[in-house]
Amino acid sequence: MRRAWGIAAGLVLACGLNLSLAAGREARPLAEDPALEARVMEIAEDLRCLVCQNETLAASHAGLAVDLRAQIRERLAAGEDRAQIIDFMVARYGDFILYRPPFQPNTWVLWVGPFVLLALALAIMARVIRQRREQGTGDEASFDEEAPS
């Protein structure tokens, strides 16, 4: 009798161990293939998580990010390349999913704007400095003229 209990307990333990092993495997789906996982992450680095918009797909724990990483993984495993996968994402979620916005007419202001502002600021600064210098010499001259009296 005691022996039967022992066997039963052993079985229960074994099942529990099995389950926990299975759960462990499910949490990290393709940990057996670190090379594939690295490529998934490399592509996910360049994509935006649409739920938590300031995170990349690689960094996010949102459900959608996990699903989209799974899509990348599947597509890589099916032999698609990086450009095809990026196209797949952009076709569904738009340019917004790209963490680096592309250089195209509606993003020209975004890319060029800061440099235009910088050039403008430098131009204003140069003008102000020139004016001050001119005014400065003028002031000195008038001061000199008045000084002798």
């Binding site: 649409l50 739920v51 918009q53 459900g63 959608l64 699903d67 989209l68 899509q71 952009v90 076709a91 569904r92 979620y93 738009g94 340019d95 917004f96």
Partner: protein, 175 residues
């Protein structure tokens, strides 16, 4: 000198203008690249009868609404009344895409709150959702006779949105 005195004020006003526009933009409301494109084709089991696979191609030739919902989605509760009212008006068929839900929970939700849908497609893994570019639930798509997506709304529907935007669009599509 007088001209230059206005410059800081001008810069300030331009800045105010940018910020005022920025305040009105909703960063959650992303433009969908699918507008005016053919809606993704899919075949999924019906929430009402899981052994029956329904094909979205069967809906060709009519204008219809696809509402992405889930029992775990809090904002879906908010829009449910508006959906029930819409269904009661019998303007165009309203279909549901039950997104990443558990089937039992979905059935219970429809039983408890009422079922505004002609039918709901069961997208347990969310794959069809990805094809539609779904990034948050609820989302609603208006699809025309040729099977193209003509309008998309992310977030809960309101009676005002249905009345002022969606119903006129449906009218314009000749349904």
């Amino acid at each position: 000198m007088k001209k230059q005195a206005w410059l800081p004020l001008l810069v300030f006003l331009v800045l105010v203008g940018f910020l005022a526009v920025g305040l009105r933009l909703d960063p959650r409301d992303l433009p969908s690249p699918l507008i005016d494109r053919p809606a993704p084709q899919f075949a999924l089991p019906s929430v009402d009868a899981m052994d029956q696979v329904r094909d979205s191609g069967d809906l060709r030739g009519q204008v219809w609404l696809l509402n992405v919902w889930a029992s775990w989605c809090v904002a879906c509760r908010q829009e449910h009344g508006a959906l029930m009212d819409f269904a009661a008006q019998e303007s165009v068929p309203l279909y549901g895409l039950n997104y990443k839900d558990r089937h039992g929970d979905a059935v219970r939700w429809l039983r408890e709150r009422g079922d505004p849908y002609v039918d709901s497609f069961f997208d347990g893994e969310g794959r069809v959702g990805i094809d539609f570019g779904v990034y948050g639930v609820p989302e609603t798509f208006l699809i025309d006779r040729e099977g193209r997506i003509r309008y998309k709304h992310a977030g809960p529907l309101t009676p005002e949105l249905l009345r002022d935007t969606i119903l006129p669009l449906i009218g314009a599509l000749g349904a």
